[in-house]
Symmetry: C2
Amino acid sequence: MRTSSLTDRGKKLKTTTEKDQAKRGNSGGSRGRISVVGIGPGSLEHLTPKARSEIENADVVVGYGTYVKLIQSIIKSGAEVVSGTMGREVERAKIAVSKAKENRRVVMVSSGDPGVYGMAGIVLEVAAMEKADVPVEIVPGVTAAKAAASKLGAPLVSDFAVISLSDLLTPWEKIERRLEAAASSDFAIVLYNPQSQGRIEPLAKAYEILLKHIRPETPVGIVKQALREGEGVTITTLKEMLTVEIDMVTTIIVGNSATKVVNGRMVTARGYDLLS
Amino acid sequence: MRTSSLTDRGKKLKTTTEKDQAKRGNSGGSRGRISVVGIGPGSLEHLTPKARSEIENADVVVGYGTYVKLIQSIIKSGAEVVSGTMGREVERAKIAVSKAKENRRVVMVSSGDPGVYGMAGIVLEVAAMEKADVPVEIVPGVTAAKAAASKLGAPLVSDFAVISLSDLLTPWEKIERRLEAAASSDFAIVLYNPQSQGRIEPLAKAYEILLKHIRPETPVGIVKQALREGEGVTITTLKEMLTVEIDMVTTIIVGNSATKVVNGRMVTARGYDLLS
């Protein structure tokens, strides 16, 4: 058993791993558990075997409708499917926890990786709040940022920052501060949710901030539905980026000072000596 | 055919997708191609089917020895394996390109995702420099950051910055500037390569910078060999982090001001109203 102690605000706490928790959860003959599963960009060829097996063996699959549809074909027949609309995250987490407490094997699906703007945090919080004695496992996946980057070339191969432009959960002032910080210290920058709920103001404001610090001719990649149906890939420049169609399912990657377009691909040079 | 034009330093360039390049590459009856494949954290259950199929069908597999070993069991018999030592990235990229030019199907393996401190960029650059008319595809994978985060809980569920402490390719001044920027604007922070080549000075300096801006009791997760053999997971605080054993294969995740330890897991709260 791996455990580690930590001191947080003066209290000694124990960290246990999923294995320990699974042991505990199963000790009473219960199979109730939650897997928060990253389904990756959406096509099954980018779904990990671990994530696939969790979905295939689930008694209950909970998730936002669009994501559930992407993995519908591998849900076992007879499994209960609870699909909901965007913006009902807390409700979905509560359903997942209550189903697991009924000894059911629950999968919560999240697009990309559940730990990046996904359901991992809220499920852990709700499970703790409801004192649910069920193991919660987080199963990582390929993120939208990495899917988009792979289509563009290699824009994120050096240090990068990931920022969501949605101010539903984060105050806009904080988002601005992060944009300023990332742009002024030469990070490559990934922008998630460039247009939350159809609002274009956040993107227009972000554009102004980026242009204050970053050369206008810096390459910018704009990827819609990366690695799934309806994919669209554009490489443009920071200056021109607002002329490209951008919607909620678009990921934007802004290069750093070493990013260039090589043979039609966006590549951030890392300082290797190519003539060595 | 999807194409998009872009203006970079005044020149009109064409962006083509892998599909176009594959078409072009195959038009002469050639099968020569390169896939730069992310093998994820290392165990086969986190390797995507796409990555697996590329490896299984490769005539030549090129990669750093440690990573090649992790996927040895799925390399087809008769395939040529070129494994090398750390720090010979340009050489490996040149080998991959030259084998593809000989009409062979080449896989370059990279741990995690090839676009995050991996081989994607250097292979694209070398292929362009050598004017190799072979398609280069980047196949994304689960990164070390996401693997580590999944074991810790959900530390990266809001905005985050990824910084490597290795100054082999990036000047230390730039790394410091990025640390300052990320720490002072409340990003969660992932530190890669905390000890490059056994040097502990970069980590000690990073620690000082982080402590200038971040509360000492902020949770910090330290994960060694995430999701592969020899895994070790520790949750501690920023103040205490240097008391934990840290080596080259360790990923460190520093929380932001909303990160807490919930039921032994590290969770960055996103502002949901749990009582809704």
